[in-house]
């Protein structure tokens, strides 16, 4: 299969180092404490944050930090073939865990002991890179909820097909069976908080691909900053400041 043609153009018209079209909206779930929609091309997710609030299940209460919980779900219409899967299958549980651990690493949980923060992530449409989109949406929702964070975690994936590193794989490219490296970073601190890969890859190429995904994360971070800034301006405006 030719995923990058000799002209250096991918199947969908992007060049290897280009990300898909990004779009984000803040405050879409009115009743949540914080919420956001994040789109990377045709991948679209909603994240809602409830909390910090009283811990519901007392036995889970932590006395020195906040309890962060996360649930990821994917409706059966979000992919090409419609499948009925029960909530909480293994893949969902795994992604929930990944999102929770990634977000926990950046929330200043010690500032909110004996409280609970719920992050709910709902995929509406999946076209590759759902993990990254979920993390980006969760970051925005947490920011919208005003939860103190070390930095804005952002995430992006990269792959390696036709001997070319490719940024932000679409579902079509992801299904090629090549490696898919998902990276999450704290852009200001320049630290990697998430790194996942399936498939085999020579170490030097792996480095390039991780580097590329990190660049992608930084670009996402810039975009998220812009969106937050714009949102703040809107809030100011509405308050008549």
């Amino acid at each position: 299969m030719e995923y990058v043609n000799p002209e250096g153009i991918r199947e969908d018209g992007r060049r290897p180092l280009e990300m898909r079209h990004l779009h984000a909206e803040i405050g879409t779930v009115a009743r949540a404490d914080g919420s956001a929609v994040f789109e990377m091309g045709n991948t679209k997710v909603i994240a809602a944050v409830y909390g910090p609030r009283e811990v519901q299940n007392r036995s889970q209460q932590l006395n020195d930090q906040a309890l962060v919980r996360c649930e990821y779900s994917m409706p059966n219409f979000s992919t090409g073939d419609r499948m009925r899967k029960p909530k909480g299958d293994r893949r969902s549980t795994e992604i929930s865990l990944v999102i929770r651990q990634t977000m926990e690493a950046c929330i200043l949980t010690h500032l909110m002991p004996r409280s609970q923060i719920d992050i709910f992530v709902q995929v509406l449409s999946a076209d590759g890179g759902t993990r990254s989109a979920c993390i980006n949406a969760a970051t925005l929702a947490l920011a919208d909820a005003g939860i103190p964070m070390r930095d804005l975690v952002t995430s992006c994936s990269a792959g390696y097909l036709n001997s070319t590193p490719l940024l932000d794989l679409s579902y079509f490219e992801d299904s090629a069976g090549g490696p898919d490296v998902t990276v999450g970073i704290l852009p200001k601190l320049d630290k990697v908080t998430l790194l996942q890969m399936d498939a085999r890859l020579p170490i030097d190429i792996f480095e390039n691909v991780v580097q590329l995904a990190t660049e992608g994360c930084k670009a996402v971070a810039n975009y998220i900053h812009e969106v937050l800034l714009e949102n703040t301006k809107q809030l100011e405006y509405r308050r008549g400041l």
């Binding site: 280009e18 898909r20 079209h21 045709n42 090409g80 076209d127 069976g177």
Partner: protein, 949 residues
């Protein structure tokens, strides 16, 4: 990264599963003209020196005739024309490339090669992603119409973009598209009119001749009006064929023409579960070898009409040439009645259904190699001449071509493509593609051999080469630390190969164990450590299937660094290997078998001669020699046991050339001598292959790649039986064991007699083939020649792709690697096995053709007298086999054409030819003295002639 790009998104709708893909449109796709003021010109290929910028439609590129009248876009293509340097300054739109890719991958690869050729000015314009040239399908617009429109929009864009000083021409063969383009103000021309406007005769020859033109050409050429009648029956329309296939009246299948009798073809039909025989060009009804055809069965009483249905055509009744002695039944003619007129052989075939072709579902036309039929030059040289092209491949009918350079082409080997064949003309029409070189020239003829056998000699692409590990490569500490790999460097490992062998696949070791037993190891180059599934390197190797050995050159399956260095188990260098290690008793009984990836260090790369000399020289007592002797002992026992089990000791007449290193001309020719050392190595390779076959089949019963050798049928052994019966010998064919025993008993007066009988027996066998274990039932896995219930190829992964697959299977069965996904896809696996058989067979044909070619070159300067053995009787002579040179050919007792023969009588029963007065007689296997000489009955057509002394 995302700056200054504007995006418009579009979603495409797919099948039941709605496939949605984004489609980004860009503003950074450049026009590729070096003189453009607006665009970035770093990758530009179009220069102002081109008289015009040509935007080509898909039908100009595509080379395939699709017999569906609703697809006028895909008619006949001109890829050969585009490949000619006379055409340049071409813009290929991505919409065109996509269409070409979907319709014909081979043409796509060729056009891609043109685009990446720095010497050619072919530029790819990604119109589908350019924001100004992208068009969205309108309501009710068919995909074809949409693509036509996209091509016109792009052509228009080029004209507007480059301004009126540059001429942009849309080249299309689709009348409708041309009309619309002109209406929209785009300069548009058909290929014909454009090429004619260039006025270069060499280019004009490359034009495809559409059928309509063909009729008019006939009128000019054929002065006999009576001949302009319908020669072939009209093909049935596609709709009728489809419904006929559904109702079971017609049968669909691939037509295969008998390599040795172009008037006989077979169509393997699933619907009747048998082969349908098609006799004669009339019944073949313009179908080519490899075409997918629809066949209608003839009434049963016409099933054996054979020759009478043939269109009488004296020209095609070629005389037999001297050729290399066949190595197996597949190399030999499948002729049923050897002596025309005797009428006895005919009745035996009448039980097989025969049919005639009613329509062609898919053409398999490509280009063919050959030469023009000798003809006098027409008076006005330079004008258009009509000539008949004769392909080297006898399965292909003669092709009618038009040329303006007849004088140049007559003594050349040329390539011709077929364009059309209507029912009014006896021969198909085609066009000249290119010249290879002079007839008889060694390099030219070698290239013909390669083209003829569909062997890819192109250098490996950059993509393939990028899969190689960096050079110089050596075994790394990680390789040694890898737990899957056992360190066997301490063993005394050595290899035994033909002299000068650079691609050393296999090495051996043999250590005496304390208890008197031996540890014997076969170490095979670990190719799959470097060739990973799904990489361009792997894809290329899958396609090539095997390395090809010609007399003077080798065409590798894998790039040279792998073949000769990284994988090759050279002496004194650490190499990665895949090892099969047995513990054997001194009686060569296998006690245990284990398989492991390993690191070895070969201590000697011996030739067969060296190995033999060491074993024979009793003064030598070094480790390697001792091991060799031990191994040889074991091998002899194993060999004997195999023979006892019924393995056939077959023989073939392999010849060897000594080639001048400077001129590459053959200096000497002789039979290949087989030594004990050869047999020793062979024995262990057989054992390794059998062990591996058992292991992989055990682990992966449905998807192992094995090799089987079908038992010969009675029909196939018929010629052998006839010969031996005439000599008063009887052969027992009930099993391979019985046959082997009766072959052993067949001893005559002279020492060569037994070998001759074995050679004849070998010729009757079919070839072994690869297959996927899931496609057949276990009894069919049997390897007749080796008398082994299971067999596969494991020991030569550098030069055979089958071994690479088997390596992967073995690694997976050991749990070292996961089985690649391809093994789950049985049809795909079957098609890989089919391709391997095809490539393997072609490689053998090419090797044989190369040997034949060099034989002729050798004898050109050396007329020789030698001894031959009669192997077959003919009405006007006999076929003589010359053991010394491994060739055979006809010796005529009466001159050809001299019909009045009558002097000689053939006795079929006794396999004798006798002079009517009884003064002289020749019988089969008799030794005769003959004279061999290269003659040129027609200029530039040298051939080897055998005459009786």
């Amino acid at each position: 990264m995302l700056q200054n790009k504007s995006f418009v998104r579009k979603t495409r709708q797919g099948r039941v599963v709605k496939v949605v893909r984004e489609h980004y449109l860009r503003d950074d796709i450049y026009c590729g003209a070096s003189f453009c003021k607006v665009c970035v010109t770093s990758a530009a290929k179009l220069t102002p020196s081109d008289s015009a910028i040509l935007v080509v439609d898909t039908n100009v590129v595509l080379n395939q005739a699709i017999p569906i009248p609703t697809h006028p876009r895909f008619t006949l293509g001109h890829i050969d024309l585009l490949e000619n340097p006379g055409i340049d300054g071409v813009v290929l739109l991505s919409v065109v490339l996509d269409e070409v890719k979907n319709k014909n991958l081979a043409v796509y690869n060729r056009i891609r090669a043109l685009c990446s050729n720095a010497l050619r000015k072919f530029f790819v314009f990604s119109n589908e992603h350019h924001k100004e040239t992208y068009v969205k399908a309108m309501a009710g617009e068919s995909p074809n119409d949409r693509n036509d429109r996209a091509i016109r929009v792009a052509a228009q864009w080029y004209q507007n973009h480059l301004g009126s000083t540059t001429r942009v021409v849309l080249i299309t063969n689709d009348r409708e598209n041309k009309r619309k383009a002109i209406e929209e103000g785009i300069a548009a021309e058909t290929v014909d009119s454009y090429v004619k406007s260039l006025g270069q005769p060499a280019l004009l020859d490359l034009l495809v001749h559409p059928p309509s033109e063909d009729a008019s050409m006939m009128e000019v050429e054929d002065l006999r009006p009576s001949k302009k009648k319908v020669i072939y029956t009209e093909h049935k329309p596609m709709s009728e064929i489809t419904s006929g296939l559904h109702r079971g009246i017609y049968h669909q299948g691939k037509l295969r023409v008998n390599r040795y009798n172009p008037f006989e073809a077979y169509v393997g039909s699933e619907s009747i579960g048998d082969e349908i025989i098609v006799y004669g060009r009339g019944n073949m009804n313009r179908a080519f070898d490899g075409d997918i055809v629809a066949v209608e069965l003839l009434p049963q009483d016409q099933w054996h009409t054979e020759k009478s249905m043939t269109i009488a055509d004296e020209d095609d009744d070629e005389e037999e040439d001297v050729h290399l002695a066949p190595g197996s039944a597949d190399d030999a003619p499948r002729v049923t009645n050897l002596v025309p007129g005797s009428g006895r052989g005919v009745s035996s075939v009448s039980s097989r259904p025969s049919g005639h072709v009613v329509g062609i579902i898919k053409r398999n036309w490509h280009s063919y190699c050959g030469s023009l039929e000798p003809m006098p030059l027409p008076a006005g040289n330079g004008g258009v001449a009509h000539a008949l092209f004769v392909s080297k491949d006898r399965r292909i009918p003669k092709v009618r071509i038009k040329t303006r350079q007849l004088g140049n082409l007559l003594d050349k080997r040329i390539v011709v493509a077929v364009d059309s064949w209507d029912c009014l003309s006896r021969y198909p029409s085609g066009h000249y593609v290119r010249t290879i070189g002079d007839i008889g020239d060694r390099d030219t003829e070698s290239e013909v051999v390669l083209i003829d056998n569909d062997i890819d000699t192109r250098p490996f692409s950059a993509q393939v080469l990028s899969c190689l590990p960096p050079l110089p490569w050596s075994v790394s500490s990680e390789d040694l630390a890898n737990p899957i790999r056992q360190d066997l460097r301490h063993l005394t490992v050595f290899s035994v190969d033909p002299p000068g062998c650079k691609d050393i696949d296999d090495a051996l070791h043999c250590t005496a164990l304390p208890g008197g037993n031996f540890e014997v190891g076969v170490h095979i180059a670990d190719v799959t450590n470097f060739v990973h599934p799904g990489t361009p390197l792997d894809d290329e190797a899958t396609q090539r299937g095997t390395s090809v050995y010609l007399v003077e050159r080798r065409i590798d399956m894998l790039p040279k660094p792998l073949t000769e260095d990284i994988c090759s188990l050279r002496a004194d260098i650490e190499r990665l290997a895949f090892s099969v290690i047995w513990e054997m008793t001194p009686e060569a009984e296998i006690i245990s078998t284990r398989y492991t990836k390993s690191v070895i260090k070969s201590s000697a790369a011996l030739s067969y001669v060296e190995a033999q000399a060491r074993m024979d020289d009793s003064r030598m007592t070094d480790q390697v020699t001792k091991d060799l002797r031990n191994m040889n002992k074991l091998a002899k026992i194993m060999r004997q046991r195999r023979i006892d089990r019924g393995a056939l000791t077959l023989a073939s007449a392999e010849v060897k050339f000594q080639i001048d290193t400077e001129t590459h001309d053959p200096l000497d020719i002789g039979m290949y001598q087989i030594r004990e050392a050869n047999q020793m190595v062979e024995e262990f390779m057989l054992a390794a292959n059998i062990s591996v076959a058992e292991k992989i089949l055990n682990h992966f019963p449905p998807c192992s790649l094995l090799r089987r050798h079908p038992s010969p049928t009675k029909e196939m052994l018929e010629p052998l039986l006839r010969t031996t019966a005439a000599l008063g010998l009887s052969l027992d064919l009930s099993s391979s064991k019985a046959l082997a025993d009766s072959l052993d008993r067949a001893v005559g007066d002279d020492p060569y007699f037994n070998k001759l009988i074995r050679i004849l027996a070998t010729r009757c066998m079919s070839q072994a083939v690869y297959f996927c274990s899931g496609d057949l039932s276990p009894p069919e896995f049997y390897h007749y020649g080796l008398a082994a219930p299971l067999y596969t190829h494991f020991t030569s992964p550098i030069r055979r792709y089958a071994d690479v697959i088997v390596h992967r299977l073995l690694a997976a069965s050991l749990g070292i690697y996961k089985l690649p996904n391809i093994f789950q896809d049985r049809p795909q696996l079957t098609s890989i096995a089919d391709n391997l058989n095809y490539r393997h067979r072609n490689a053998q044909m090419a090797s044989r053709a190369s040997v034949e070619l060099h034989t002729i070159i050798y004898f050109r300067k050396r007329p020789t007298d030698t001894e031959g053995r009669i192997v077959k009787m003919r009405s006007n002579g006999f076929i003589v086999f010359v053991p010394k040179y491994g060739i055979e050919g006809p010796v005529y007792l009466t001159l050809r054409g001299e019909k009045g023969g009558g002097e000689w009588v053939v006795d079929e029963q006794q396999q004798k030819v006798r002079k009517i007065d009884g003064s002289v007689s020749y019988s089969v296997l008799q030794t005769v003295r003959i004279h061999m000489e290269v003659v040129e009955p027609q200029p530039n057509r040298p051939k080897l002639q055998l005459t009786l002394l």
